[in-house]
């Protein structure tokens, strides 16, 4: 079956979600990916929404994606203070974030393009993104891939990746482990264990390494065993299209 860019990004994202994890999740593509993981390889994943809903077991997945009041089957329903406490107390295994700019260490800017005081584009700011990236055991970055986004250095460091490299998070005093991967419409990226710099792990079908380099404003390392991203299976696509997002609201 052919698939869209959003669909391969969703499937690649879902593969980072392990069974039994507690995952802090926003709306949009990451939420769809989390429900896909739950419907496939990670039935026991506990989704934590910022609103305080923990681990809902919706009868209908499609309904769950569109309805914020997933309270009837949740393990706990609380509020924002409580979901942020779970983050700060280190009880969240994985967070998923978007970005406007990202650098080779996975540092994210969602505050201002250009100078901080007189930006060329003022963005919304951190919201909960900094809190997630600082405190979750690990986080994943999901974004479209182009040279405006993948920059040599971020104009404003809103949300910490690996900061300046090995050991920098720990020296700064950050509790969480930092980014473990980046999923884009071109490929899947990891972070080198020695340098903490972004490396190409796989390119999506039909995408070349040159395409990725052309869309990235910093030098990208490449994994020696670079592969092609495993395409979405027919059954994954079927679940996405018929059960999770049948009206195409999110993808």
């Amino acid at each position: 079956m052919s698939f869209s860019k959003d669909e391969i990004m969703t499937v690649a994202t879902s593969r980072y979600i392990a069974d039994g994890d507690t995952v802090f999740i926003g709306t949009g593509l990451p939420m769809v990916a989390a429900y896909l993981a739950k419907a496939t390889h990670a039935p026991n994943v506990a989704l934590m929404f910022e609103s305080g809903v923990l681990d809902p077991r919706p009868r209908s997945i499609a309904k769950a994606v569109g309805d914020p009041r997933l309270v009837s089957t949740a393990r706990r329903v609380s509020g924002m203070m409580d979901s942020l406490l779970m983050l700060q107390g280190g009880r969240v295994d994985l967070g998923v974030l978007g970005c406007a700019q990202v650098d080779r260490f996975g540092n994210i800017n969602t505050t201002a393009i250009g100078s901080y005081e007189r930006p060329s584009t003022r963005l919304p700011g951190s919201g909960g993104a900094n809190d997630i990236a600082s405190c979750a055991k690990h986080h994943l970055i999901v974004t479209r891939h182009n040279r405006r986004t993948f920059v040599e250095s971020v104009d404003y460091l809103t949300t910490p990746g690996h900061l300046t490299g090995p050991g920098a998070r720990q020296r700064a005093g950050l509790p969480g482990g930092g980014p473990i991967g980046v999923v884009t419409d071109l490929g899947v990226f990891g972070f080198d264990a020695r340098t903490c710099e972004m490396v190409v792990e796989s390119v999506h079908p039909g995408v070349s390494l040159d395409d990725v380099r052309a869309a990235t404003a910093f030098e990208l390392a490449v994994k020696p065993d670079l592969s092609e991203t495993k395409p979405p299976s027919d059954s994954e696509l079927d679940i996405l299209r018929t059960r999770i997002d049948p009206e195409g609201v999110y993808l």
Partner: protein, 308 residues
């Protein structure tokens, strides 16, 4: 009780807002497009307040409208955006031109500004902003060392806003403020904001008796000890939603968002919806009973709006 000395604090929105001087610090409750005290926000604009320092933890149309109306000189929060609609356009215009100063936070450091004061201390330790530019540009975040373990923390400076504006479901005339049991969880932050201000003005959907408050004491989220003024403002969060009481008015949010594209069209919006309207009651007439009562049941026309 004859000769009761418990003061009555119910006033009109005009009276409650009239005491706020230009240049005051004003904290605003609610979350993105949820339960912001919009009737009070519109009254700030009607009374042509200037130079306000706005504080919040996660803001949307409340800050954007005040910025576009020239009311705000400085904003301090973790987020200003229009949720699923997109970027806050008045924020963009006025920050990019240098007209409005920004102080940025993470969500938890923004909350800790208020939580510190509510706890009676002048700072709280927090780890989230360490190593980021939140520390570089916000002098209310300063690196400190734990006297117990040597661990590095950011000290988040507590704030005591001159005024706090909140919207809630009900209150008595003395300022005992309640939320329905059916609420959406964002209101676990408002109680901290309400406990941090010098003067706390709460608009509510309905005024109830103190007997009603006492019959449902678990719903009281801000007792009168914290509250200086109560304002009766049904649909006072419109066009934001107010938990289970009413949903977003998506047509109105869209109209606002389209109008905010340019300063000129935004001023036309303000003239139509705010400054040409005498007060909140006239605003409700303008929106119309049928619109108010049915907007929540309209099918979503904003992508992803249901989960905002």
């Amino acid at each position: 009780m004859p000769g009761s000395r418990i003061p009555e604090r119910l006033v009109s929105a005009q009276e409650a807002i009239s005491v706020i001087p230009d240049g005051a610090s004003v904290a605003i409750g609610g979350h993105t497009l949820r339960r912001h005290p919009m009737a009070l926000v519109r009254e700030l604009i009607r009374q042509r307040k200037r130079g306000l320092h706005l504080l919040g933890w996660n803001n949307g149309i409340d800050f954007d409208m005040l910025i576009g109306a020239g009311v705000a000189a400085k904003i301090e929060t973790s987020y200003v955006g229009m949720g699923p609609l997109g970027l806050a356009r008045n924020l963009r215009r006025h920050v990019e031109s240098g007209a409005v100063e920004t102080v940025d936070h993470s969500e938890t450091t923004a909350i800790d500004m208020f939580r510190a004061t509510a706890l009676g201390v002048d700072f709280l330790p927090n780890r989230t902003p360490l190593g980021t530019d939140l520390m570089t540009y916000n002098d209310g975040l300063v690196e400190i060392t734990s006297p117990f373990t040597g661990q590095t923390y950011a000290a988040v400076r507590g704030v005591e806003p001159d005024f706090v504006l909140l919207h809630a479901h009900s209150a008595d005339v003395h300022g005992n403020v309640q939320l329905d049991e059916a609420n959406w969880g964002d209101n676990t932050v408002d109680p901290f904001i309400g406990r941090a201000g010098k003067h706390v003005i709460v608009s509510v959907e309905e005024i109830v008796s103190t007997e009603h408050i006492r019959a449902n004491p678990r719903r009281t989220f801000l007792p009168r000890e914290y509250v200086t003024r109560v304002v009766h403002a049904p649909f006072g969060a419109h066009p934001c939603c107010a938990d289970a009481r009413y949903g977003y008015d998506q047509d109105e949010l869209r109209r606002y968002y389209e109008a905010s594209k340019t300063q000129e069209t935004f001023e036309e919006y303000l003239a139509d919806r705010v400054t040409s309207v005498g007060d909140h009651w006239e605003y409700l007439d303008k929106v119309g009973v049928a619109n108010l009562l049915t907007s929540a049941t309209h099918t979503s026309n904003v992508k992803g709006a249901d989960t905002a």
